[in-house]
Amino acid sequence: MDVALFFQAMLNGVLLGALISLVVVGLVLVLGVARVLNMAHGHILVLGAFAVWFFFVDIGIDVGSKAVNFLLALVLGMFIVGALGIVLERVPFRRFQGNLIAGLVAAVAIMMLIESGTTQAWGTETKIVGAVWAGSTDFFGVVMSNWRWVVMAVGLALMAGVALYMQRSKLGRAMRASASDPEAASLQGINPITVSRLAMFIGCSLAAIGGGVMAPIYGVDLAVAMPWILKGILAIVIGGPGSLGGCMAAALVLGMTESYFTTFVNPQAGYIAMFGLLIAVILVKPWGLFGRPMAGL
């Protein structure tokens, strides 16, 4: 077997895993704190991609080098989508806490609104965002485009950052407390609304960043929304709804699985393998590998 190909697949797997991780963190936070499974998360990710395209390509903001422009577009997109997330938390999600079917219906409605909104504004063709750094780098026989290295680094850094934030910072611990026991947390003086908003903001911002950095690789197109939310859901179900670390690990495993099957068999097999993994895990451990049964699910 081609060793270089093996490592290439592995690296690609880490990249994919980091991206899935960005999606799943948002899902876990929102599920744990706001108690809603945000099915619209994939569309929020694509909104981030649209935002980056809008600022970087369409308007073409220019404040310095290409990298700075892209970064600025990314940050702007992050804040806008994060703010949208807060609006979403306030209007539909808080009302349908506790995982009713209504939450799912609301998410479906949001997805449709996002779809028609973006197609009305910008049409249906896939938009292209040029990578900030073109070309590719050879690292011990493994060749990957420069931009993919960047994305991988960004993804891993964000994963570590979020993990640290949730562990150490005061707000992070507040979110974890609220997710674990909302009543006790409020008795400790943690405002559930604030924490909900924060979780939603962080989740949506991360998804937006993910979408933004993915844009040069996958293009800006609504069609990628569904696969990504599905991968996020796979990760959260395999990892277990209560455990952020578990879900990140699950995301990495999913990324590797997809990468290996895609490289050595074919893309569809990769997808099928991921779903097969899900079914296998659920049958053995219905609450996920690291999850605890959540009340009200």
Partner: protein
Amino acid sequence: MDRVMGLPFTRRQLTIGFLAILVVVLLVLPQLLSQYWVMVMTMTAIAAALGYGFRFIMIAGRFTMGHAAFAGIGGYTAALFTTKVLENFWLGLLMGGIVAGLVALVIGAVVLRVPGLMFAIITMAVSEIFRYLVIMWRSLTGGITGVLNIPSPSIAGLDFGIDQVPYFYLIFGILVVSVLVMYRMERSRIGLTFHAMRQNDPLAQHLGVNIWRYRILCFAVACFFAGLIGAFQAHYWHYVSPATYTVMDSFTVFIYAYVGGLMYPAGPIVGAALMVGLSEGLRMAKEIAPLFYGGALILIIFFLPGGILSLPQESRTLLRQARARWRSMRDRFARAPGS
């Protein structure tokens, strides 16, 4: 025996009478309307039938996001049968239903043990696996392009051809049969166990209900009919492709049932009629349709979560509350100082 509003009929007689009139109207309309409207009616019937199957599974306490996929299984089975084996639509139709039902049986036996949310996600996974399997197995299924040039159904040598009308009668027949079967099941003892399972799993078990067997039965029956509908669709549009049966399509089926009212048997039918009728009837462009669906959904969740059919109930409650509030205000002012 209580009479309705002083009329000399029972509620049951009124319902049956109403349905009979409705059926007659629906059978006569295609002869009077243009081909376009008959197409709209056909699409409504497809949506209604799928929605009803979805609701059937919902009654037993499970939320399926793979209903479109089972229609797809039926559709592909029938399509492959009539194009590669024997050009007999009716056999193909039957095969489509049976294969879909069998697959549901097998999958259900394994997967229905799992809590509701996980089951919903697994049905999503199954839907996507089906789609990707079809894409992968290009030699059999034609991959992304799908199966083309599927022949039209024919009775006694007469081809259906391009006339919309016989297609409508066919799907209407399928709709009536599936609704009848599932409705009778719902109203029988089997249906009572479904409702029991939905409301309280452990309690139903304690009362002696074999929830696994009944749930699998429910799932298999609903998916059998979904397969029939898929087979019809394949021969109506004359092609099947993986893009026809996605998770979003299952969502749409769910929306029909939800908008109409999940708790009412007529719910999915009303919902489908409304959504398909309005979106096709008003000739909405493809881009606006999601906006319409999303907007309708939001309106329903916020104002009428029980669905459209819950309107009489909800308005009665609102009226009662308004009347009570008025009375208390009036009484309070009657006892105002100075009287």
